[in-house]
Structure formats: structure tokens, C-alpha cells
């Protein structure tokens, strides 16, 4: 119990990494340190508007203060990894879209690139550019979804509608490109499934001109809003070291001041050809994460702009056999998904089906930081922090 008592303040810097030791968290017996009727154990979820799906968080509260949390996951478990072992490589590609269904394009990119790497083939440049454009658009869409729901969690209703309105434009492009809006299955192993439609570049450019003022609109609503600042500043602080220790990646890591982005660190697709920056935060609090994601949207727009302007002509499919039989071996490939490092570990036994496929989902890993971030905070902050981690339960549970 002493570990909790020391966490009196919201000042997360006081909390050493040692507080990661969660053996103290005994949810069964109430805290007997002092007889106090304020001590509660509350189930947040699995049916709860703010847990973004079917996440169940068991909260141990002292009054309103969070003493500890325990996440119960698995309500959305579909056995994606097991399914992979019974599908051919090609057949499995649509399944990955169902993990992070808010960023299906990114999921597909990671999978396709992993298999390509395993087979040692390369997608042609045009395909690479298309991939970049779609993936970055998907990143914007994902961040929009996050912004809307996060703001709604904190109590600002309006941004949700704004972001959904604008996200629609991206989904329209997807729809036009591949016929699907959400689970696109846009890429294939070795390239892209479809050639771009006529007017694709124009649509994308239109979107960019349409969207630039919209980000300003979001920021006008929130960035300097006093209540927004009070609710997000110094809430859910996590240090860069803690992030690294927990394996947290993505905007959460960057908001803690660690400049780590796989697009720069281990460039894949055509990212090495584009000029963009990695926005980072300083305090690692919810507000910084908000700012980082807003900046990332702008950076994504930059990338898309460059990519659309420089998109080369050529084939969209590499030299891939009809039946995909990667050589015996194993591969780990990861990309910078909107939520963090999305990795695929594939073991091939030389057959048409993966022997084992393991996904490193960013949401799942990032969710670990929840306990560290919310200890000592209030219940309302748990909502804000869950929102700011940006989890998708489809990806957490797989």
C-alpha cells in the first residue's frame, strides 16, 4: 500500500519506474490502511462510452483518486494470429484490416511489406508512392477519429462532428480507389491491388486544400481553450524513459520527447524520398500528445503533397508468383502506424501458409502505460488518458 500512498500528487516525475511493479495492486481486499468508506472498486467497462470499445478497466479508487488500475482485455478476441496459420498469405491480407479498423490501410501496408521482405521482392516505385499517399491519408483519418472521440471524452462534443465530417472526404477517396471505406484491403503483396482511378491526384489535392483550414479550425476550438488546457496539461504524464521501458511507441512516445519515428528511423516504402519532420513534445502529458498528433496531421499532409506531385509512372505490381510460397525463414517487419510501431513477425515453413504469424500491435503495448499514467489521478483523468493513448480494441484483442 505504501506505493500508493507515495503517489499523492499528480506529479508523475515523482513516480519512479519502480512503480511499474504491480504486485501491490490487490483488487480483492479493500485497503485497510485506514478505515475509509471512500474506497471503491469500480468496473469501467466493458460497456462504457469512454473505453472506446469493449475494454474493461478495473479501477481501485480512494474517493475519486485512482489507486490502481487493471485492464481486462479480450472481449474482442478473434484469433487473428491463429487464423493466419490456416490461410495462404494472400488470403490472410484482408484479415489484418480488421485489427486496427480505424487504420486499415496501415495494417495492410505492414503486412504486405513484411511478406515482401520475406520473399525478397520489392514493390515498384509507383506502388510505393500510392502506398505512401494512402497510408498518410489513413493516418490523418485515424488521428481525426482519435481527436473527435478524445475531445468527446473530455466533454467537448463539437470536434467530434467536425472531424467526422472531414474524415468523410478521406473515406471517399478510399472508396473511389478500392471500393471500401473502412476495411480497404488496398494493397497486395508485391504492390497495389488497383491502379489509381482517373482524377485520383486531383481528389487528393482537393482534399489537401480542403483540409488545411480544417485543422486550424480544430485547433481554434481546443488548443488554447482554457478548460482543454486544464484538463490535459500535466495529466497522464509519462517520461520518455518509462515509455521506452514499457515499449510504448508512436505519438505517445514522441510526446514524451523521444524522437523516434520508423518512417525516419528505418525508412520503408518511399518515405526516404520525402521531406517531413517528426513532431515531439516535451512534457509527455496529454496536451503534448494532442499537439503531437495535430502536428503529425500537418506533416502527413506535407508528405501526401510531395508524393502526389512526384508520383511516378510505371507498373503497380512487382514480380510476384501467382502462388506465394516464401522461402523457409522468419521475418520481423514494422511500420509506423498511426498509433505506433505496428510489427509483423512471420515464420515461414516454405508452404503457402505462414507457420506462425505474430502481430505487434501498438495499441496493445501502449495500453500497458495506462496504469503508470493514471495512478494518483482522478477518474475523469482516466477517461482522458485512455483517450490520449488512442487504443483500438480490435487491435488490442486481435
Amino acid at each position: 500500500m505504501s506505493a500508493y500512498k507515495n503517489d499523492q500528487t499528480n506529479d508523475a516525475s515523482n513516480r519512479a519506474l519502480s512503480s511499474l511493479d504491480r504486485s501491490n495492486l490487490d483488487l480483492k481486499t479493500p485497503d485497510k490502511t485506514y478505515l475509509d468508506s471512500n474506497e471503491l472498486i469500480i468496473n469501467m467497462g466493458p460497456q462504457h462510452p469512454a473505453t472506446h470499445g469493449v475494454l474493461r478497466v478495473i479501477l481501485k479508487l480512494d474517493g475519486e483518486k485512482v489507486l490502481g488500475t487493471e485492464c481486462v482485455i479480450g472481449y474482442l478476441h478473434r484469433g487473428v494470429e491463429k487464423i493466419a496459420e490456416n490461410r495462404t498469405y494472400t488470403m490472410f491480407a484482408p484479415y489484418v484490416d480488421r485489427m486496427d479498423y480505424c487504420a486499415a490501410v496501415s495494417n495492410g501496408l505492414g503486412y504486405c511489406e513484411a511478406v515482401e521482405k520475406l520473399m525478397n521482392v520489392e514493390a515498384p516505385p509507383r506502388a510505393q508512392y500510392i502506398r505512401v499517399i494512402l497510408t498518410e491519408l489513413q493516418r490523418i483519418a485515424s488521428h481525426q477519429l482519435w481527436l473527435g472521440t478524445h475531445a468527446l471524452d473530455i466533454g467537448a462534443m463539437t470536434p467530434l462532428f467536425y472531424t467526422f465530417r472531414d474524415r468523410e472526404e478521406i473515406l471517399k477517396i478510399f472508396e473511389k480507389y478500392c471500393g471500401a471505406r473502412l476495411t480497404t484491403h488496398a494493397f497486395r503483396i508485391g504492390g497495389c491491388q488497383y491502379e489509381t482511378y482517373a482524377g485520383f491526384e486531383k481528389d487528393v489535392k482537393n482534399f489537401l486544400t480542403f483540409f488545411a483550414p480544417k485543422i486550424d479550425e480544430y485547433e481554434a476550438l481546443l488548443t488554447t481553450n482554457r478548460i482543454w488546457l486544464e484538463r490535459t496539461k500535466n495529466v497522464g504524464v509519462i517520461s520518455g524513459a518509462d515509455c521506452i521501458a514499457l515499449g510504448v511507441t508512436g505519438p505517445v512516445l514522441r510526446a514524451s520527447g523521444v524522437k523516434w519515428d520508423l518512417r525516419k528511423a528505418q525508412p520503408y516504402a518511399a518515405y526516404s524520398k520525402f521531406d517531413f519532420e517528426i513532431p515531439t513534445g516535451e512534457n509527455g502529458d496529454t496536451y503534448d500528445r494532442y499537439l503531437v498528433r495535430m502536428q503529425e496531421m500537418r506533416q502527413s499532409m506535407r508528405i501526401v503533397e510531395q508524393a502526389v506531385d512526384a508520383i511516378p509512372e510505371g507498373p503497380i505490381m512487382g514480380k510476384v508468383p501467382k502462388v506465394i510460397k516464401p522461402p523457409v525463414g522468419e521475418i520481423y517487419h514494422s511500420i509506423e502506424a498511426p498509433k505506433g510501431e505496428l510489427g509483423y513477425f512471420i515464420v515461414s515453413d516454405g508452404s503457402t501458409q505462414p507457420y506462425r504469424l505474430r502481430v505487434r500491435p501498438p495499441s496493445f503495448v501502449n495500453l500497458q502505460a495506462l496504469d503508470l499514467m493514471v495512478r494518483g489521478l482522478l477518474v475523469a483523468d482516466v477517461i482522458a488518458v485512455i483517450g490520449t493513448i488512442d487504443i483500438v480494441l480490435g487491435e488490442v484483442d486481435r
Binding site: 471503491l40 469500480i42 462504457h48 462510452p49 469512454a50 475519486e64 475531445a151 468527446l152 471524452d153 473530455i154 466533454g155 467537448a156 462534443m157 463539437t158 467530434l160 462532428f161 467536425y162 465530417r165 476550438l221 481546443l222 481553450n225 478548460i227 482543454w228 486544464e230 484538463r231 482522478l378 477518474v379 475523469a380 483523468d381 477517461i383
Partner: protein, 432 residues
């Protein structure tokens, strides 16, 4: 006409029925106010949904009636016929009447709200005290509802909202006191707690109290305006019913009619506190510049405003009719909207007729009726501004966290209101 009806109407003074001792008219007024407030609440429901939708780039209710005008009725019907679920583990009795407490408190305060110098149920000597006291009873309803549900979220929500309301009552009360202090700045040196008296004091002193001792009145008003949002558990202080945290706060377990009673109480309370703000700081029923523009001509011009407003509303409705797509699908809607516009136009006509008829006859029934309409119109207009603000807040701001809320209440608002009170007292002594 029986005497007990006419004697009130014939009396030469403009007295409230309560003050005049006319129980009949008091009853009539009570009925009118109850009906009016209920209608206003229902209308508010629609207005809020529409306004919020437009804030959020959507349309809001559009299907039930033209532009969803009949949506509140549909809602009401739905809520009334919905099953009234009482959880098995709940405290049946308390669960049953908890909403009533809130509703009772919210509606009782209307007995002293002065829609006009005589347009109130009663002019109580302790009017404002009564208002604060009774509105504070609303907390009981919330606490009891949360407790009776016998569930965690409602309990937390109830404790939160009651703590919040009790806390903000302090700042609110002090702000009110500073306004009451201003009423004593007259020749006799005695102030009043009477709501009508307060408005009359503003008239006598020739200034709305919001502008009195600038900026003291403004600060006090601002404190009240903030506190009243917290007091009614509205955004950004809607912690008790923060759906993202506590699903729905104290009324999580409620459904159907009983839930609608909470809604009714909430909106009624919103209107009530807005009324207090209007009465204390914004001159109550007074039209703009009653002392400067006091010529009969001005009276007449201002008395045309209610009619003209309804005329404008009718015009808006007609525009809506015109903009309806020319499709058979919209025919009924178009007809409905046109009828609505016609209704509004008729009301406007009636009001204009009354304004013209009551122009010269000061103490005639028509004249008094005209005056009454005038007063009620301005009062409602001012309250409507507040109601719009309530919606605007909700569309714009995120929600405060509970500790921040408490911090603002106790560490910011309370000291400021105390300071304002003290400074007002000193300034009042100096200038009186």
C-alpha cells in the same frame, strides 16, 4: 364576474395576486406559470437540439414535424409510455419520489419570479432568499436519487453534483448579496429582498445593477453567471452527468417518465436561475432605457416589439416553407410549417392589436394586459439570451474535472465574490 375575481383586476395598485390576497388569481397565475414553464422546457428541448446540431454542422431533428418541430411532443410521448424501470435493489419509495423533489424545488421558485411588477404569483418579502433556499432543495432530489439507485455511478454522480451545488451556492449567494446591497442605496437606506423590489430599485436608481459601480456589478454578475451554470449541472460543469465518465450520473438508473422529470427539473432550474440573474442584474422586466425613453411614444414603440418578434418568427417559418424542396414527400411538412407560420402570425397580430388598444388607457384591463405582455416579453427575451448561452457553452467547452471545479468554486469564485461584496459595501457607504 364574482368579486374575488374582479376585485384584483379592479384594484388601482399593480399588485401581485399573492400580495393582494387574491387566491383565485394566484391559482390562475400558478397554472399559467406551470404551463408556461412546461412549454418553455419542451421548447427548450427542441431549441437545444436544433442549436446544438447547427453548432455541430448537422441538422438535428428534422423528421417529426417540419424541422422537427413536433419532436418534443414525440419525445414526451415516448418517455411517458416507456416502461418505468425501478431496479430491484433500489430503494423503491425514495427512488420513486426523488425526481419529484427536484421538480418541486425547480417549480416552486417560480412563485416569486417577477415577470412584471404584478406578473408574479406573490411578492414575498424574502423573495430572493426564498428563491435561493428553494432552489437549493433541488440538491436533495439529486442526492436522494443517486442514493436510492443503489449503484456506484449514480452515487458518485450524486455526491459530485451535490458537492458541486453546495459549493457554488456559496459564491452564488454572496454575489446575490452584493446585488441586494445595491438595493439599499436609496433615501431610506433600507434594501429589500423582494424580487419586485429589486427590479424597482434598479428602476429608481436608473441603472441595471450589472452596470452599477462598474465593474463591481459586472463582476458579481459574472460570478453569478458562472455559478448558475454549475448550479444547474450544465456544461462545462456537467460532471454529475458526464456520460463519458459516469455514464449518466445520478439518473443512470432512471428511465421513462421519471427520467423526463429530471430533465424537466433541470431545464426549469436553468430558466429559474436565469430569471434570478435577469432580475438582479439585468433589470428584470424593464425594457431598455425606461427612464430615458419614457415618453408615451416610446412606450408605444416598445410595446410593438412582442408583436414584431412573432411576426419575424412567422416570416422565418414562411421562408422555411418556401425553401422546402418541391417534392410530394415534403407536402405535409410544408403544410404543417405554413400552419405554424400562420399561427405565429396570428399571435403577432393579436399582440399588435393589444399594443395599439392598450396604448392610451393606462389602468384599463387592456392597458394592463398590454403592460403585462410588454413586461413578460422583455423578461423572457433576457432569459432567452441566457438559455442560448447555456447551449452555446455546451457546444463549445470541454468538461472540467471535479477537483478543478471545486478549486474554481472555493479558491477563485468565493474569494472574488467576498471581495466584491466588501468593496460594494464600502463603495455603497461612500456614495450613499
Amino acid at each position: 364576474m364574482p368579486n374575488f375575481i374582479m376585485s384584483y383586476l379592479d384594484s388601482k395598485e399593480a399588485l401581485t395576486p399573492g400580495s393582494a390576497g387574491s387566491q383565485f388569481w394566484a391559482l390562475i397565475y400558478v397554472l399559467i406559470i406551470f404551463a408556461g414553464v412546461s412549454v418553455a422546457v419542451i421548447a427548450m428541448n427542441w431549441i437545444e437540439r436544433k442549436l446544438l446540431a447547427h453548432f455541430q454542422v448537422r441538422l438535428g431533428p428534422m423528421r417529426v414535424g417540419p424541422h422537427g418541430l413536433l419532436q418534443p411532443i414525440a419525445d414526451a410521448v415516448k418517455l411517458m409510455i416507456k416502461e418505468d424501470i425501478i431496479p430491484a435493489e433500489a430503494d423503491q419509495l425514495v427512488f420513486w419520489f426523488a425526481p419529484m423533489i427536484g421538480l418541486l424545488a425547480a417549480f416552486t421558485v417560480y412563485t416569486v419570479i417577477p415577470f412584471g411588477p404584478s406578473q408574479a404569483v406573490s411578492d414575498m418579502n424574502i423573495g430572493i432568499l426564498f428563491m435561493l433556499g428553494v432552489s437549493s432543495l433541488g440538491v436533495l432530489g439529486i442526492v436522494v436519487a443517486g442514493w436510492a439507485s443503489n449503484s456506484h455511478y449514480p452515487l458518485i454522480g450524486a455526491l459530485r453534483s451535490s458537492a458541486q451545488m453546495v459549493s457554488y451556492e456559496v459564491a452564488m449567494g454572496l454575489a446575490v448579496v452584493s446585488a441586494i446591497l445595491m438595493t439599499s442605496l436609496n433615501a431610506s437606506g433600507t434594501g429589500t429582498l423582494s424580487m419586485i423590489g429589486i427590479v424597482q430599485a434598479q428602476q429608481q436608481q436608473g441603472v441595471w445593477f450589472i452596470f452599477k459601480f462598474f465593474p463591481l456589478g459586472l463582476i458579481a454578475f459574472a460570478i453569478f453567471a458562472i455559478a448558475m451554470v454549475a448550479e444547474t449541472n450544465r456544461a462545462p460543469f456537467d460532471l454529475a452527468e458526464a456520460e463519458s465518465e459516469l455514464t449518466a450520473g445520478y439518473h443512470t438508473e432512471y428511465s421513462g417518465l421519471r427520467w423526463s422529470l429530471f430533465m424537466l427539473a433541470e431545464y426549469a432550474a436553468m430558466i429559474a436561475v436565469s430569471s434570478i440573474a435577469v432580475t438582479l442584474w439585468l433589470g428584470g422586466w424593464m425594457r431598455p432605457f425606461p427612464n430615458l425613453l419614457h415618453a408615451p411614444a416610446w412606450d408605444f414603440i416598445f410595446s410593438l416589439f412582442p408583436g414584431l418578434t412573432f411576426l419575424a418568427l412567422a416570416a422565418i417559418a414562411l421562408i422555411g416553407v418556401a425553401r422546402m424542396p418541391a417534392h410530394s414527400f415534403f407536402r405535409i411538412q410544408r403544410i404543417g410549417l405554413a400552419v405554424f407560420a400562420a399561427l405565429l402570425g396570428f399571435v403577432a397580430l393579436l399582440l399588435l392589436v393589444i399594443a395599439v388598444a392598450g396604448r392610451s388607457a393606462d389602468m384599463s384591463v387592456a392597458g394592463r394586459f398590454n403592460d403585462g405582455i410588454d413586461h413578460v416579453y422583455w423578461f423572457v427575451l433576457k432569459v432567452a439570451v441566457f438559455m442560448y448561452l447555456f447551449i452555446w457553452y455546451r457546444a463549445t467547452w470541454p468538461r472540467y474535472r471535479f477537483d478543478q471545479l471545486m478549486k474554481i468554486g472555493w479558491k477563485v469564485m468565493l474569494p472574488i465574490s467576498l471581495g466584491v461584496l466588501i468593496v460594494t459595501a464600502i463603495v455603497g457607504v461612500i456614495f450613499s
